[in-house]
Every structure is written in structure tokens, then in C-alpha cells.
Symmetry: C2
Subunit: 307 residues, 2 copies
């Protein structure tokens, strides 16, 4: 199936284009970006997604990896033009945008997929399988602390309204949690945010999550320097599961799934292909709902260092 | 059907108890409140909702009119005890709480109803009927400005995290909008909030809403003094509809529905009774989703006078 990739930034070049060069059932025939291109890609390039949609009637699917603030407009135009759509994380700026795209996809008989790459790891999948046979976890701890400069150095958009702040990477942790606890409806009992000088979005979030059968704490932090910490720990009848760095799984301290290769984006495109084959959209709203709930009830502090 | 009323504050005394004394299909047999009672009510009173649930097995339905922050716990316990539940607006503190209650109601085979009293007016219902025969409105204007002292004087909770601020009354405007445009998925394109000194929630909100076929502006304001302004104006193929003060409808300047009596709470309980009879929950998430979307993308200013 012919596919177009909208957005040629870092993640498109390093992950999307690489995955699409493999055996995903898609053939990348066009890219779109007003400024960048994908080095080495020899297909057609457009600076505007509407021009691409008009010129490429054979493109049946569109992968949207442009900045989050543009997702809604690009996806809407693609669905209106009768194409299937996959959205990079975060899927859009608001829940309302995602729900409207979901409605539009249903109306047009096309498939919409929200994609959360961190879910597509063997360690995460194995954790889900282990949890499946037990009552829900009694407690969890999420720690998601990373160096702002290393991953987002020089970028201003994360700090602007709708930019999500540390929740932009933090949504990966929530997507892991939602994947391993597919039946849980999470409630934010309380949240504390800290906004750096001049920022509209948080660099630090601490929140209390609850679900039927348990409760736990999550901390998301952007900081200067230090090692990245990406840990999701779950305690329950299954013992203690630690999903470390997204790609390693430990049970009661013993390695169950050792760190494997990064095949996240291969997994994303396989899931997109499967959704199209089944004619069924796959939209997850829970990750963004947790974030919006946290922002709605949060006690907000101002301070800390600018990053 | 025997019903208990949880919460005996101003709205419970002036509206809920009055409506339940009428012909709604419910018989009020118990009230719950740690501090207040309903003057003139001669049934049983409890200071704790769990004590009431334990002592009143014949109570099949529970109406939750206690402070918003307590809704989730009260409703959860009532559903777990096998009772049908109606939630005063705002239905809960977060979307996650409402969705979890929805899940629980389905699991228990009981009915959950989110109630938005402003929807139950002849003017609002007539506006919905007029809109039904036309394409969606091309534009709207919402103005919801009221005196904080008159309606919420001395209350601290609206300013605390999760208190919704001016969105606590403002959700009434959004419930009118959602009722007359039942098929629309609203998107918040941008929002501006102003927080008074020491407040965690806004006294002023201006936002841009969009939907398939149109866009418009909403302003919510808490202020000192002045007349209350509660206007929802819609423009489209039907001309201009103005829902004024929730109970009057004008079309192109001419009164279509003159101001009638306030039967909002009679309408609420009839809807609850109908939902129970049909065995079908009636949960609306759109109002709270618009609010959470607005809070998530908002540019926040601090200032203005303390109210």
C-alpha cells in the first residue's frame, strides 16, 4: 500500500523512514515538509500536504509526524481526501481534536490510528501478558526524568500553550501504563506542576493516579544533565515488575526480557497495516485524558531554572 | 421509586427537594449531609452516605448534589451498593472519574446519569428543534458573565485546584450548546485565562471553539457587581437564535419562547426516571472535555481583582 509521510523532522528521518524501508506492507512514495526532506529518499517531495493529497491519488495512507499543533489540520484534510491516517504521539493538541478526527474517519469509512511508539517493545508486551493473568496492580511508580537539552535543546514549542511541556515525552510513560493495564480507567487524584520562568507548560509534574484496585505515583521531570530515568514499576500478585528504559523487563529483580533492538516503529506500521486490513480504527484517548485531567486539577507552582 | 438525596446545600434545598416533592416518579425517603438538612423534610437524615446506603436497602436511586469534589466517592459507593445514580453538574472533578463511574455502572447493571439542569428549559429545547432541520451553525457567541458575590460569595472552593473557577457556572453555557448541537464535536482552538491573586482557577476565560461547519467565541467572567449576562447566540441558515438567560428564545430579534417558569429540576428527575426505565445510562462527557481542552491549551495570565 502506497503511503506518504508528512513531517521530515528528526523522528521522521531516524525512525519513520527507516521503518518504512523495511517489510511493513507500505511503500513510501511521497514526503511532505515545508523546510526539511528525508536524506536518501528518492520519491516525490512536497512542501504542502494539500498539494501532495491532490497530486497523489494512489497514496492510500498518510503518516502524520509533523509538529503536534499541525496534526489536526493535516489528518482532517487527509481523511476528507479519503486516506487512512496514523498520528504520531501526542495524537493532537486536545481531546476534542482527536474525537473529531475519529468521527470524521467513521463518516468517511477510513481508518484512524493513534500511535504510541513506546508500546511496541517486547518488554512492554511481556509485562502486559504477565499482568493479564492477575488482578490489577495494587501500586505503581512511574519515574520519567530526562535531560531537556539532550532531547529538546533549543526548542521553544514545548513551553508554549498546547505544547504539553514534560508531558510531551511523559505521554510515552502513560502509553506504556495504558498498554499493560488495558482495562483500567485511570483517575488523577491530585497533581502538582512546576512551570519554569516564562513557560506555559510544566517541566515538573508529580501526580497521584488511582484505578479500580490500586493507586500509585508518577513523576515527570525535565532537567539539565544527568542520566535519563525511564522506569515504570508495578506491584501486585505477580510480584514486582520493572519496565526499565522501555526495553528491559525485570520481575522481582531478575531480567525477564533483556534489552533488545529498537523495533518500535516497525511495530507501529504493522499495527497501522493491521487496522487498515481489519477496517477498524484504533484510537486511544486515555493517555491524553490523564494529562488533561492532571492539568485540570493541578496545583501550579512557578519557579525552578529555565531549561 | 424510593430515592435518597446526598447533599443538603442551597441547590438541594431550593431545587432538588422541591422537584422531588412533585410528580417525578420518585419518592424522597432519605437525605444525607454532614452539616445541613432540608428544612421541612420529614424523612430520615444521615450524616454519612455509607450509613444511608447500609440502612436503606429500599432506596433504589441516589441523587448526588454534594460538593463536586465528593461526587466520585459518593457515586462509586452508591453504584457498588447497586443503586442508580444521578450526578449534579459538574459531574465530577475529572473526565477520568466520570469514565470510571460509567464503567462501574455498566459492570453493576445500574444507570448513571450526568445532569445539566440548564438543558431542561423550553427555550433550549425549542432551539434544538429549530437547529435540527438545518446545517450546523456557522458561528456562535457565548457570553456568561455574572457577579461572583451574588452567587458564590464567601466560597473558597471555586478557586482551589479542581474547583473549575468560572467554569463551574460556565459549564451551564456549554451544556446548552451541547444540547442544541448534539452531533457536534467541539474543538478548542485557543483559550486565554485570567487567574485572580492567589487563585488556582480562572475568573475570566475567553476561548475559540470550532466544529465541522463553523467556529465561534465564548467568554466566561466572574466579576463584582453588574447584571448577569447569560447569552448563547447562534447564527446560520436558520437566522440568528438568541437563548437569553437560559429561559427566553429569540429568533431574528423576535421572541419565540417567552420566559417561562423554572422547571429545570423537574426535567432532570424525569430524565433520570426515563433512563432507569430504559435501563440505559446517559452520560455526557463533552461539556467537561471542552473545559479540560481549554485548560490544556490556555495562555494563562495572572491579575485582576480578587473576588
Amino acid at each position: 500500500m502506497k503511503i506518504a509521510l508528512v513531517g521530515c523532522g528528526a523522528i521522521a528521518r531516524s525512525q519513520h523512514a527507516r521503518a518504512l524501508a523495511g517489510d511493513t506492507g507500505f511503500e513510501l512514495v511521497a514526503t511532505v515538509d515545508p523546510r526539511a526532506t528525508v536524506p536518501g529518499f528518492e520519491g516525490r517531495h512536497y512542501t504542502d500536504h494539500q498539494a501532495m493529497l491532490a497530486a497523489e491519488p494512489a497514496v492510500e495512507a498518510v503518516s502524520v509526524a509533523s509538529p503536534t499543533g499541525t496534526h489536526f489540520a493535516v489528518a482532517r484534510d487527509a481523511l476528507l481526501a479519503g486516506r487512512h491516517v496514523m498520528l504520531e504521539k501526542p495524537p493532537a493538541t486536545t481531546l476534542g481534536e482527536v474525537v473529531e478526527l475519529q468521527r470524521l474517519a467513521a463518516e468517511k469509512g477510513r481508518v484512524l490510528v493513534t500511535s504510541f511508539h513506546a508500546q511496541h517493545n517486547a518488554a512492554v508486551e511481556r509485562a502486559r501478558e504477565i499482568l493479564e493473568g492477575h488482578p490489577p496492580p495494587e501500586s505503581i511508580t512511574i519515574e520519567w526524568r530526562e535531560d531537556f537539552e539532550r532531547w529538546h535543546g533549543g526548542q521553544a514549542w514545548p513551553w508554549q500553550p498546547g505544547g504539553f511541556g514534560v508531558f510531551d515525552p511523559g505521554i510515552n510513560a502513560l502509553s506504556v501504563l495504558c498498554h499493560v493495564m488495558p482495562a483500567a480507567e485511570f483517575r488523577v487524584e491530585r497533581a502538582r506542576l512546576r512551570l519554569p520562568p516564562g513557560a506555559a507548560t510544566p517541566a515538573l509534574v508529580e501526580m497521584r493516579l488511582a484505578w479500580e484496585g490500586g493507586a500509585g505515583d508518577a513523576a515527570f521531570e525535565w532537567r539539565r544533565g544527568g542520566e535519563d530515568v525511564w522506569n515504570v514499576t508495578l506491584n501486585g500478585a505477580f510480584g514486582t515488575l520493572l519496565i526499565r528504559g522501555v526495553r528491559t523487563l525485570l520481575q522481582d529483580g531478575a531480567v525477564v526480557v533483556p534489552e533488545g533492538p529498537n523495533l518500535e516503529y516497525d511495530g507501529l506500521y504493522c499495527a497501522f497495516r493491521a487496522a487498515i486490513a481489519a477496517g477498524r480504527s484504533a484510537v486511544s484517548l486515555r493517555e491524553m485524558r490523564i494529562i488533561e485531567d492532571a492539568l485540570a486539577v493541578a496545583a501550579v507552582e512557578h519557579g525552578g531554572e529555565a531549561l
